[in-house]
Symmetry: C2
Subunit: 328 residues, 2 copies
């Protein structure tokens, strides 16, 4: 089978994804001029087949996830996405249909987010396919939302629902698990979809800029990421597990096996946003989030102290065997 050269492959699959700053990928570099009085926000995430996704996952889903995990970081910082750069390491058995589906998924996800491809590099992998995306957004000057600035008294909020992705991953690994028995086909599909397709909460960015004292995205599990944000801010937190929002599908599984809850709050890949809001701003923040169509739950409070956050439910304090999920 004759396959295109690197230049041919770029022209066919990636040049169509380039925006004005990408210069049609005809140059060695991209050009980006942020809006006047704006700062750029930059983030990078690497994904490896067999570590962050399954080698046989639909190529469009892999692309959507790789971009989505980066867009989620931008959203948490209050940024609007501008563009991204891609490094793609292809194993020797790559195929054109794979690449066509990958680039189509990438283009679709980027269009939805309002950003475009700025540049990239395609290399030969040694081992499994891997990719790295650097995403760039902008915020009005000095308005980037940090994760290091939570203060005692702030209310802790989380978007959407927690734990769906880790259940979706578990379903892929073990479709016949006992806890999954009561789930309908639609419920299973919903959970697996949450694992495959992170939805970056970009619509929340303006409300975060206006009202959040600190924020980060939840990628490595709620429990571990909350601890990380508090540690980075030099504070602690009291979090009410009974207030953590779960989806209908997750609730049905949980009713069958209550022990799932700990996996759900410790597992990764939620790509929701954890935000610390000064109490006086909470009503306005919740109002803006509702207007943006993004569900938000208040799950606890930032407190003074340097200890790890405490988690409690109706039975009292809860501790977790595994603190945080790590992709590393």
């Amino acid at each position: 089978v004759s396959r295109p050269t690197e230049d041919g492959l770029i022209a066919r699959y990636f040049a169509p994804l380039a925006g004005p700053g990408g210069l049609g990928l005809a140059d060695d570099a991209a050009l980006l001029a942020p809006s006047p009085s704006h700062d750029l926000v930059l983030t990078v995430d690497g994904l490896v087949a067999g570590v962050h996704f399954f080698p046989g996952d639909p190529p469009g889903s892999i692309a959507r996830k790789a971009l989505g995990v980066n867009l989620s970081d931008l959203a948490a910082k209050g940024a609007r996405p501008l563009g991204y750069l891609l490094t793609l390491a292809l194993p020797s058995d790559w195929s054109e249909p794979w690449l066509a589906a990958f680039s189509a998924g990438l283009g679709e996800a980027a269009r939805e987010a309002g950003c475009s491809l700025l540049g990239g590099d395609t290399v030969r992998a040694s081992g499994a396919l891997s990719l790295s995306i650097t995403a760039i957004g902008e915020v009005p000057s000095c308005e980037m939302v940090r994760r290091t600035t939570a203060e005692p008294g702030d209310r802790i909020c989380v978007t959407g629902t927690i734990g769906d992705a880790v259940l979706g991953l578990a379903l892929l690994l073990e479709p016949d698990a006992a806890w999954a028995a009561p789930l309908s086909g639609d419920e299973r599909a919903t959970l697996v979809d949450r694992y495959h397709h992170p939805r970056a909460r970009l619509a929340l960015a303006p409300a975060l800029r206006a009202y959040a004292r600190a924020a980060m995205d939840v990628s490595d599990g709620l429990v571990g990421d909350a601890a990380k944000m508090m540690r980075a801010s030099g504070v602690s937190a009291a979090i009410d597990l009974a207030a953590v929002p779960f989806s209908a599908a997750a609730c049905r599984a949980l009713a069958h096996d209550p022990l799932l809850r700990d996996r759900m709050v410790c597992g990764g890949d939620d790509y929701e946003i954890l935000a610390c809001i000064p109490p006086g701003d909470l009503p306005r923040f919740l109002h803006e989030a509702r207007r943006a169509g993004i569900p938000v739950a208040v799950i606890g409070d930032v407190v003074a102290g340097s200890g790890a956050p405490t988690f409690s439910d109706e039975t009292g304090l809860v501790t977790f065997a595994q603190g945080s999920f790590s992709h590393f």
Copy 2:
């Protein structure tokens, strides 16, 4: 052996490399505010052990090469480096001494170039070690030097010497090759060093901005890259191989085996700059290059037409079996 967590590893080896915009790597994202009236220039390159470097290469050399190939792109565009983001995929047998040497080499190379780490991601590799660096520089607005804008009549210039890196690589693969017999130990070391340690021509950036109509860095071989720039500009070129600059070490090898010349002008990893200069600006460009301490040779002319560039030497026209080196 107990090894640090990802967070511990970041704190120990990478946080010290972060500049102000990297926020001590304590946040999920970096912040970058380009100078007023400047555009950002972005480039990304992936490197894979066994493809772009030898797995046993000194870790500091791998780091220097990964940053250097990106800085070379920025230099060719007339940009001043600001910062970079790193994705590092480590195989399961990574060691702390390796990482310490890698981060030390990276920090040193970045300091020399005046830029700092903005962010990164460390992931588990499936297969060999690989890394990807996104580098970001700035140019005064609208002054980025393109590779798509060469015009008939422009003089074609190249910096430094061509072919050293491909000979250095050949020496590593085949130290006893006949052509290498006349080389001294110092000459061998010089050639291998050119393969390991690209030196980005950052000092030439102001002269390129001022006088170059088009420029790119020579990473995939002079012959192939010249063809690429002419094709991208919709022009052709006439290049005099007798004018292509070779180092003293390369000349000694070439005297022993004249057939090496074709490998030298087709091979990769030069990381020199190919620039098209309007004839009226050539004296000033050469003067500025000399002031910057960078040797420049005039090797040909841009001509009208859509054919591939022609290469000639004292014997007449020369054709090459292999057009361009590809890392892919």
